[in-house]
């Protein structure tokens, strides 16, 4: 038997079961309102016809679509896939479908996506949003928004506190004798970048270490390679990069230039997305993106069902994971 192209409607089921649409509707939403006998009849008829409730029609009358939008700056950046995966499987548990959006690190694109999805989702999960606080607050006024790695007062948010891990990393470098280090930055609009940068500065000052800041808009392997000359020119003996991918690019370029790590330069990454897969294996700040994704999605689902718009601020702290790219500072001439 070949499957029909047009799906059976609630009316056909009603007729087949000898009841009205209302009863069929109830059988699928609140069966406890019906007699067991009726429910049985209806399900039998539905099964027979291969009836499945029409989500769209249901959404039109209830306003609930059962969809959630998940927007990230760059799907291809290894930081996001595990997070996406975690959020997905959590959404799955609550029978939500998730739209995925890729903003390409561009606020305008992100805004456009939110508008496009707006009509058919109940809430948004914005990861590392590049939007302004004002824009975020505005969207949140229309429908529930949960943020990951973005700290906006009044909006439920899950933050991966890389500051703790970064501080540990700086202390680790200090204990190895480093007195001057560079911070290779990430995207301007990134909350994580501001946080990491501040953490590096603060810890360094406390330990009497000098910090050089090097800008680098797009966090990627290639930009990591390109930034190496500036790092070398700075005269620092260690570098902390915005993320693992950037650090990996640096590692490759350093290797290509015959500069040995960590003997001549120590390198630290962030987010630990590469694990021990680089060579030398990368010292990094731990990653909690999976928990962040899971937590944020649970939070969103929670808000959607309780409609209690709480101001939650969930913080996940991090630590430094020491591997093989950090070592003793090179001997330097004293002034």
């Amino acid at each position: 038997m070949t499957p029909r192209r047009t799906r059976p409607t609630i009316n056909q089921v009603a007729e087949a079961a000898g009841v009205t649409k209302s009863s069929v509707s109830r059988a699928f939403t609140r069966p406890e309102m019906l007699s067991e006998e009726t429910v049985r009849k209806i399900f039998a008829a539905a099964e027979e016809l291969g009836y499945v409730p029409n989500q769209t029609a249901r959404a039109l009358s209830t306003g609930k679509h059962g969809n959630i939008a998940l927007i990230v700056p760059d799907v291809a950046n290894p930081f996001f896939p595990p997070l996406i995966r975690a959020a997905q499987s959590e959404a799955d548990r609550s029978d939500y479908c998730v739209f995925l959006g890729n903003s390409d690190e561009k606020p305008m694109q992100e805004d456009k996506l939110i508008a496009r999805f707006g009509g058919q989702v109940e809430g948004f999960l914005l990861v590392s949003s590049r939007l302004s606080d004002e824009q975020i607050v505005n969207h949140a006024a229309r429908r529930p928004v949960v943020l990951i790695n973005r700290d906006v007062e009044g909006i439920p948010r899950v933050l991966i506190d890389s500051a703790t891990g970064v501080a540990e990393a700086v202390r680790h470098l200090a204990s190895l004798g480093h007195r001057k280090l560079v911070y290779v930055a990430g995207p301007q609009g990134s909350w994580s970048n501001k946080q990491r940068r501040a953490a590096v500065r603060r810890s360094a000052r406390q330990l009497g270490i000098e910090v050089v800041h090097i800008a680098n808009e797009y966090p990627a392997f290639e930009s990591g390679r390109r930034i190496v000359p500036s790092v070398l020119a700075s005269g620092a003996t260690a570098a902390i990069a915005f993320d693992d991918v950037t650090a990996q690019g640096m590692l490759a370029e350093l290797l290509a230039r015959g500069i040995s790590v960590p003997e001549q330069l120590s390198v630290v990454g962030c987010d630990d997305v590469l694990g021990a897969t680089t060579y030398p294996s990368l010292t990094s700040v731990s990653n909690r993106s999976v928990e962040a994704g899971r937590t944020a999605l649970t939070l969103l689902v929670d808000i959607l069902s309780n409609q209690a718009i709480r101001d939650v601020r969930y913080v996940l702290s991090t630590t430094v994971v020491i591997r093989s790219t950090t070592g003793a500072a090179v001997a330097m001439a004293r002034p």
Copy 2:
């Protein structure tokens, strides 16, 4: 001014513009049917109220939802994110929203996702589907389906032909003096796996090389590490892995065991997702997933607008990318 919670409807715009709903509807779908003057008035009113057509209501009456579902086995596997990204941005160009589904390599989960999305999408893009041919044909009978890396007669599909690249890789190894190699397999249900395995065998036979097949269900870094003992035990001098991630795991384990690559064992990956980021940099079969994603999505959109269900079979060929994990075969005792 604070944004309203409830969006303006077509009726409010109609009233504000001094026309009926019909005209407003037409202004947004077929403006050429209206006088310029009326269209102008309507748009002005819409703009003023911040009116945006309700996708759901529109979908209910037209049957077009403007959504596409993209299902992959594992978002976190680096092969997929670039493909997803490419498909996304292509969908974006045609104003489609995309649902992302993660099947966890499980046919049942994939089926469940298809059912869940079914009600609100116009078509499916199934990547490396783990479903049976029969299941796929069945779904395709209900609504348009485009396949990536899955070859089912009658279903539009985009195939990355890794066979050409794998054959090149085998010849490359042969020219380096290898006489016995192992193929570290991928998921059973994977079309790519079958294709690669067959290509290895065929090329090897032609060149008089012996092949050992080693099963390995889940393609991941850890399983790559675990498989190393078997590889070593086989006595082969070279290994071709199902994908780069598996190969990377092998590399790490080999390094940990003090076995040097390629001096003692040559390793080849597939899909080239890691680029030159491993150490030693991995020889691999080229990756065309971005083109595959873009092409497949264009194809789907095309089918959706032309409703001409053509039997397309788009093949992208590959080559071997030689880097540093392949070298001369180790000297072996002659029998």
